[in-house]
């Protein structure tokens, strides 16, 4: 089916998404109906009585119309490691996975610690024309953990948050400085919360499986200690902090308690933490190596509980492309991380099918909350809002294959798994950037 993909953009005849199930957590609506997009914006929601002339009409036959999904934690690898991923390939993979926007982490080469690099990333993303990109700049220069970057300048040039992701901010004093200074700009700090002295060269979760495999473990306590620190400092400074990739039951509990005390923290987890356990490492599977590591079944269930009760605010993939050079090697030498953009939606839909969360909850975790935490557009289908929309076919069955990825890399532990659900259309600013085949 060939569409005028620009029908919903400026000067276009309009785009009507008809006969859908409209799910918008922002207005708490879950109704059958249609959405009319014109001039890059949402013009009407419900059942428009008249359709503009020449308008592109797509009959969705009950598929879900949701605010565009936002992955607030990805690594696009450009600049510096273009053999793993580029902004072009990464945003194309994002669109293929149903995302209209991603926030990209600063651990590139050079590190995104200056407005030059931030602008470069935004330029590249605009040229690519797939998902929107929101650059996250580093908290400290060169990820060195010492001197703060120019928060004000970076924000003015398009950065949306600050993180030394991949590395914890080792020094609590530096974290305090960052959180203090963040108050001037109401800036968001995103923390990779892990106590490095307890990680100490570990390569997987510490426990029975690490002992069986003779691999050095990372105890869950490394995350507990750091999350506690990272809830205590914003409590002191009154600023906002977001905790990345929560992987442990203890971490969820510490965040739950801090939220009860009124600390301004939010938190995310990744699909692999609610889909897999440390058992996936058996056989020295480097595609199951990431940091924080896959944990136990108890942790997995606690992560799901955290998503259900709102302790965890977002599902973000920590999409971390690596080539075979970093993954086809000894387990201890393999780099951390897996790709996630193209499997996140189907894995999250599995939580819906299993009855853990409602479709509305899922959209809140994957769109509305990430938009509000990052302070960016989208996350709602409100009239007048920018037309970033994902159309989801929750039933489509497919199998993950090594060659099926749009991403430049294929380091996924889900290869071979049967999935259910995918993005049918992805619309960014009224333009259809992705149509499922």
């Amino acid at each position: 089916m060939e569409h005028n993909i620009k029908a919903g953009t400026k000067g276009g005849p309009g785009l009507l998404l008809k006969n859908g199930r409209i799910i918008d957590p922002f207005s708490n609506t879950d109704v059958d109906g249609s959405v009319l997009v014109r001039e890059g914006k949402i013009q009407e929601v419900g059942n428009p009585e008249s359709v503009p002339e020449g308008c592109l009409v797509i009959d969705l036959q009950g598929k879900w119309i949701v605010p565009g999904l936002i992955d607030m934690h990805v690594h696009l690898r450009e600049p510096g490691e273009e053999y793993k991923e580029t902004i072009e390939s990464g945003t194309r993979a994002a669109a293929a996975g149903g995302f209209t926007a991603v926030a990209c982490m600063p651990n590139t080469n050079p590190v995104n610690d200056s407005s030059d690099t931030t602008r470069f990333i935004l330029d590249r993303a605009r040229d690519a024309g797939f998902a929107r990109v929101y650059p996250v700049a580093s908290i400290t220069r060169g990820l060195g953990g010492e001197e703060l970057t120019e928060f004000g300048d970076l924000l003015e040039n398009g950065a949306v948050a600050f993180s030394d992701d991949g590395l914890p901010v080792r020094d609590a004093g530096v974290m305090r400085l960052a959180l203090d200074y963040a108050r001037n700009f109401n800036a968001l700090i995103i923390s990779h919360s892990e106590e490095p002295e307890l990680v100490a060269g570990g390569v997987m979760n510490e426990g029975a499986v690490s002992t069986q495999l003779g691999l050095k473990g990372i105890p869950a306590a490394a995350e507990h200690i750091a999350i506690f620190r990272d809830t205590a400092i914003p409590e002191l400074t009154g600023s906002r902090l977001h905790i990345a990739h929560v992987s442990t039951a203890g971490g969820v509990e510490i965040i739950r308690n801090a939220k009860r005390r009124g600390v301004k923290i939010t938190a995310e987890t990744a699909p692999h933490y609610f889909s897999l356990t440390e058992e996936a490492v058996i056989g020295y599977n480097t595609f199951a190596k990431m940091n924080p590591p896959l944990r136990t079944e108890t942790d997995r269930l606690a992560i799901i509980q955290g998503l259900k009760d709102g302790t965890l605010d977002a599902i973000a993939t920590d999409h971390a492309p690596h080539s075979v050079l970093e993954k086809e090697c000894e387990f201890a030498l393999a780099m951390n991380g897996i790709i996630g953009l193209e499997t996140s939606l189907a894995l999250s839909l599995e939580l819906v099918r299993q009855g853990h969360i409602s479709p509305m909850d899922m959209v809140r975790l994957m769109s509305t909350n990430p938009a509000s935490i990052l302070g960016v557009n989208g996350g709602t289908l409100k009239v007048g809002e920018v037309a970033d929309i994902t159309v989801i076919d929750p039933d489509f069955k497919w199998i993950v294959t090594e060659n099926g990825f749009v991403s430049k890399s294929h380091n996924s532990p889900f290869i071979g798994k049967e999935m259910q659900g995918r993005a049918e259309f992805v619309i960014v600013g009224g333009k259809i950037v992705q149509t499922a085949k």
């Binding site: 029975a208 069986q212 003779g214 691999l215 020295y284 090697c329 030498l333």
Partner: protein, 326 residues
Amino acid sequence: MNRLRSRHVLGISHLEPDEIIYILDSAEALKGILDRPIKKVPPLRGRTVVHLFFEPSTRTKLSFELAAKRLSADTVGITASASSVVKGETLIDTARNIEAMKPDVIVMRHPMSGAPHIMSRYVDAAVINAGDGTNEHPSQALLDLMTVRQHLGRLDGLNITIIGDILHSRVAHSDILAFTKMGSRVTVCGPATMLPPDISALGARVIYCVKEAIRDADVIIALRIQKERQGRSLIPSSREYATFFGINRQTLEYANPDALIMHPGPINRGVEMSPDVADCDHSVILDQVTNGVAVRMALLSVLLAEPERADQKNIVEESTGGEHGA
């Protein structure tokens, strides 16, 4: 049984009890060759064994080399570097290059757990794990089983106590799996900084006091304190270790007087074991070394045996006139 189920010997965790018995019986049959004036038999003539060592080793390498030579295999030794910092050739490239030269067996030691498992996915040759990181050292556990069976006549219902640095010891890991699989009970003891998490998952129990740990032991295995494997020091001093965890005459007063004393070597005399204990009547440490060659001969021969020649008795009978046929 005349073959192992796997093409490779990667760890005790991959072997079933009947396979272990088969290897031990083969080793017993082949051991006689070591006592003969001409210590060479022809079964592996024309076969090639590559000894690929990414980590220094003296006795294991020597033992594997002698085992291969006793069976008339051609052997080549390669000492490679596994540096993670200056990456030259990757492990997989090394594997593919060695494979291209058509060896029959690759005996491999590597400082990282799981490296032989990765190697085995890229080669047609049989891979024997000669020690990988802190994971396994299956031939050592098999020679320990062989030694215990020789002296005590069985492998089930025994109390085996392993003392020392359990965390960094692939020998401990393989021994725990091996003795447990054969129906014995394994107790581990050592400084708690040297005990791995959740060791009960392997089937061992932990006793913190040496005197208590050896009380009912039929076999006491002391391990080498591997200073080279530790990051920061895990014990305050060698002196304190010797006092609280070393095996000496005083500690042995708490043990069964017939308990066998074993050590995988090399011994830090005066630290994990006092010299008089290492050399006492119940010490079978040198038997372990001899059995090591026999077990490695057995591994090579069961992995390379032609199906029709798989019965080790036949090989030995042909070459010895049946004197070791039993």
